[in-house]
């Protein structure tokens, strides 16, 4: 049993595929294996020991009904248990956590994969819109993000240059994308007013994996480990039924629930990772999480200000993809915490216009 509030479930290994704009050299299966294989090694275990897996991916992006069919075998699914969530992997981690907590599976893989180079962004995103009243207008996620940004900037707390600086800060920390300046973002091609092309995270091919274990198994494997203290999620209304599109009360609610489970205060956190596909959405979520507004919040993304480090990994804007971004942050935080200790919050989102928010709290082994 956990000696502290929260779960007795631990991350004991991680791995990630090489992230690039196009990975024509590998199939989806091979891409995912690039993440799974090092995660197993890192955890000191092997596939036959894995009792279950939760994967995260999207049929539409993969162009395949049951997109986890591509990775089923390599996550231990052959005569083993794999289940797929169609959402960001932070939600999948929450489900995997439950499967360990109820003692059904003591050693579980969580894997997220996306090969966005294979999909047509507009066509896929158009399919997320109401088929009766909205789809004929030809919208995509950028259109909603633009509505959201307009509403946000109209409040006067933020302006486009703030979002541009968030992008630049992410790129400066990225291990897979070239650095760029805020001015580069502001000078990039307009997409939907007030957004520019570089306001959006680039489409990428990537995969992330972690091995999680119940306390007894984590102790047996004796690897440097990080406790998954709590997970929480909240779902907002569909974008067109959400007049306050520029706010993220569900992000705040999910974080508050997770902190309550942990018995922590926000001030106990040493690191926060925020994930969303557009730069201004980081400002919305950061504001909702109480990290400040305007210049104050932007400086947090740039590494300044007081309090926890914000997006030290670069997050989604620094190189990840839908379904994967949350797990990419969890991997980054896991590496950081097992080296230098501390407590962290990883956030991600699912849905058009940051509809659902998922939060995971992690703590280094003490």
């Amino acid at each position: 049993m956990a000696t502290a509030p929260g779960t007795d479930t631990w991350i004991i290994g991680c791995g990630e595929a090489r992230t690039a704009v196009r990975r024509d050299d590998v199939s989806i299966t091979e891409l995912a294996w690039e993440a799974v294989a090092p995660a197993l090694t890192d955890a000191g275990t092997s596939l036959p020991e894995i009792e279950g897996a939760v994967t995260a991916s999207q049929d539409f992006w993969d162009g395949r009904t049951i997109s986890s069919m591509s990775v089923n075998e390599l996550v231990g699914g052959a005569f083993g248990s794999e289940a797929k969530v169609a959402a960001d992997a932070c939600l999948g981690l929450g489900y995997a956590l439950a499967r360990v907590e109820d003692a059904d599976q003591h050693l579980n893989l969580v894997v997220a994969h996306a090969k966005e180079s294979q999909g047509d962004m507009h066509t896929i995103e158009l399919a997320a819109f109401d088929p009766y009243f909205q789809r004929a207008l030809g919208p995509d996620e950028t259109v909603v993000a633009a509505f959201q940004a307009q509403l946000l900037y109209a409040q006067g707390l933020f302006e486009p240059s703030h979002a541009a600086r968030v992008v630049a800060a992410a790129r400066a920390r990225s291990s897979s994308l070239d650095p760029l300046s805020a001015q580069d973002v502001l000078d990039s091609a307009p997409t939907a007013d007030p957004l520019r092309e570089l306001d959006r995270a680039p489409l990428l091919d990537c995969a992330s994996a972690i091995v999680i274990a119940g306390g007894e198994h984590a102790a047996r494997l004796a690897r440097p480990r990080v406790r998954i203290v709590a997970a929480a999620s909240r779902t907002g209304a569909y974008w067109s039924q959400r007049p306050e599109l520029h706010t993220a009360p569900q992000a705040r609610a999910a974080a508050e629930e997770a902190l309550s489970i942990a018995g922590w205060e926000a001030s106990d956190l040493d690191a926060i990772e925020i994930n969303a596909p557009y730069a201004h959405q980081h400002l919305i979520v950061g504001h909702a999480l109480g990290l400040g507004s305007g210049e104050e919040l932007v400086r947090r993304f740039e590494g300044g200000g007081e309090g926890p480090a914000v997006n030290a990994s670069g997050g989604w804007l620094g190189g990840s993809a839908g379904s994967v971004a949350g797990l990419h942050s969890v991997v980054s935080v896991f590496k950081r915490l097992r080296e230098s200790g501390g407590r962290a919050l990883a956030h991600s989102t699912t849905g058009i216009g940051t509809q659902s928010h998922h939060v995971v709290l992690l703590e280094a082994s003490v």
Partner: protein, 394 residues
């Protein structure tokens, strides 16, 4: 850590069939409303929602987010499962784990599909590997034609025996107010004379495409008894898959290794030693008549090769000693996102004594299975008896 003892305490189904009168959200809500109303519950009583649907069928990406209002998931955690034909059972299993882990006390699960608004066979064809398999995929019919041919060769099962399953299903469906395909006067001869779709599968050997939804509420021991007079306690859950590529599965689905592996695990957890004796009823996910016969063997209701004999004996009829699919099964109702959850819900209804005209007398223990993907199996065992211990081993 020990799991929280967990039960299904409520079920609800929409009317299944060709639902030109309702949108997909309305169909899902119909099932949810019936489920919650059966126990006087409201959305305020629900801690989390798990949704199951195959998005490629209707072509709505992020359908759970689109239908968040209909699903009652606003400001709650909303998990979206996406596991093919099993998805309804995978959704039920997720509900179970979220309660058994102590995370939530009451979780609503809902599976839904509106296949009249999509192309079922096209969507199923994209299950195949795009390089090696898709060009030869032919939806579910081709898959089960291959399975049935192999099964005939391996076991000597006959088209007449398969037709008896088809007849049983559609006659049972007449007792189920929600069922899609009700054929009270169907005969073996009529099945054998129906259009040949792909040898040896006749049209009436195959499941229909339906619009429909199913909902369940899974609850923790601390609240279950106050919600249902006879909760359907979960004694075991298990999932297993076969190889990633279909060609790697010897004997195709006639020998369904994932079904054998999942039931073996679940039987071990639930203390099942003689399935035919220990279960009072089974709801098996049988997309085709031949599949049900093979599943009899693979879940251990009879020795391998004796599936045809079991139906000849009448053992699996609604008044047999081990009734299988008294609801009418998948052969009568198949809204894919809901289909496997219907198996779970029908098994729960039998345990709770709430199956109406198709209720089997004195059900104590029921088996539910889900099938999908590349021979993917989910299993749930439900019982009227509270699990003796809260300890469950993997």
């Amino acid at each position: 850590m020990s799991p929280v003892r967990t039960a299904i305490v409520a079920t609800g189904q929409s009317d299944h069939g060709r639902r030109f009168d309702a949108s997909m959200g309305e169909i899902a809500r119909e099932a949810i409303d019936r489920c919650l109303a059966s126990r006087g519950l409201s959305f305020d009583d629900i801690d989390a929602v798990v949704a199951g649907n195959m998005e490629m069928f209707e072509g709505i990406y992020l359908v759970d987010q689109y239908l968040v209002g209909a699903l009652g998931a606003l400001d709650k955690p909303l998990y979206k499962m996406n596991t093919g034909g099993t998805v309804g059972a995978s959704t039920a299993l997720a509900c179970y784990h979220l309660v058994a882990s102590g995370r939530h006390q009451r979780v609503l699960g809902v599976g839904f599909q509106k296949q009249t608004e999509g192309s079922t066979q096209s969507a199923i064809t994209t299950v195949g590997d795009p390089v090696w398999e898709r060009a030869i995929m032919a939806g579910a019919i081709g898959n089960f034609a291959s399975m049935a041919s192999t099964y005939i060769a391996e076991s000597g099962v006959t088209p007449e025996q398969a037709a008896k399953v088809a007849v049983k299903a559609r006659r049972n469906a007449c007792l189920n107010p929600h069922a899609h395909l009700k054929l009270p006067n169907i005969t073996v001869e009529e099945v054998l004379e129906s259009e040949m779709l792909a040898y040896p599968i006749h049209r009436l050997d195959m499941c229909p495409s339906s619009d429909g939804a199913c909902a369940i509420v899974m609850a923790a021991e601390s609240v279950a008894a106050s919600l249902a007079e006879h909760p359907a306690w979960v004694h075991a859950v298990a999932t297993s898959h076969d190889q990633q590529y279909m060609g790697d599965s010897p004997k195709r689905l006639a020998v369904m290794r994932s079904l054998q592996a999942a039931t073996k695990k679940a039987y071990g957890l639930a203390g099942i030693t003689s399935p035919r004796r220990d279960f009072d009823v089974a709801e098996l996910y049988e997309p085709a008549s031949y599949a049900e016969l093979a599943w009899y063997e693979n879940v251990g209701l009879c020795p391998m090769g004796d599936g045809g004999k079991l139906i000849d004996e009448g053992a699996t009829l609604i008044d047999g000693d081990i009734p299988v699919n008294p609801s009418g099964g998948v052969l009568s109702t198949n809204p894919v996102g809901a289909t496997a959850m219907i198996r779970v819900a029908e098994a729960a209804m039998q345990v709770m004594g709430e199956a109406g005209e198709h209720q089997i007398p004195e059900v104590q223990r029921a088996l539910a299975t889900g099938y999908g993907g590349n021979a993917w199996t989910d299993v749930m065992i439900l019982s009227r008896e509270l699990p003796a211990t809260a300890e469950v081993e993997a």
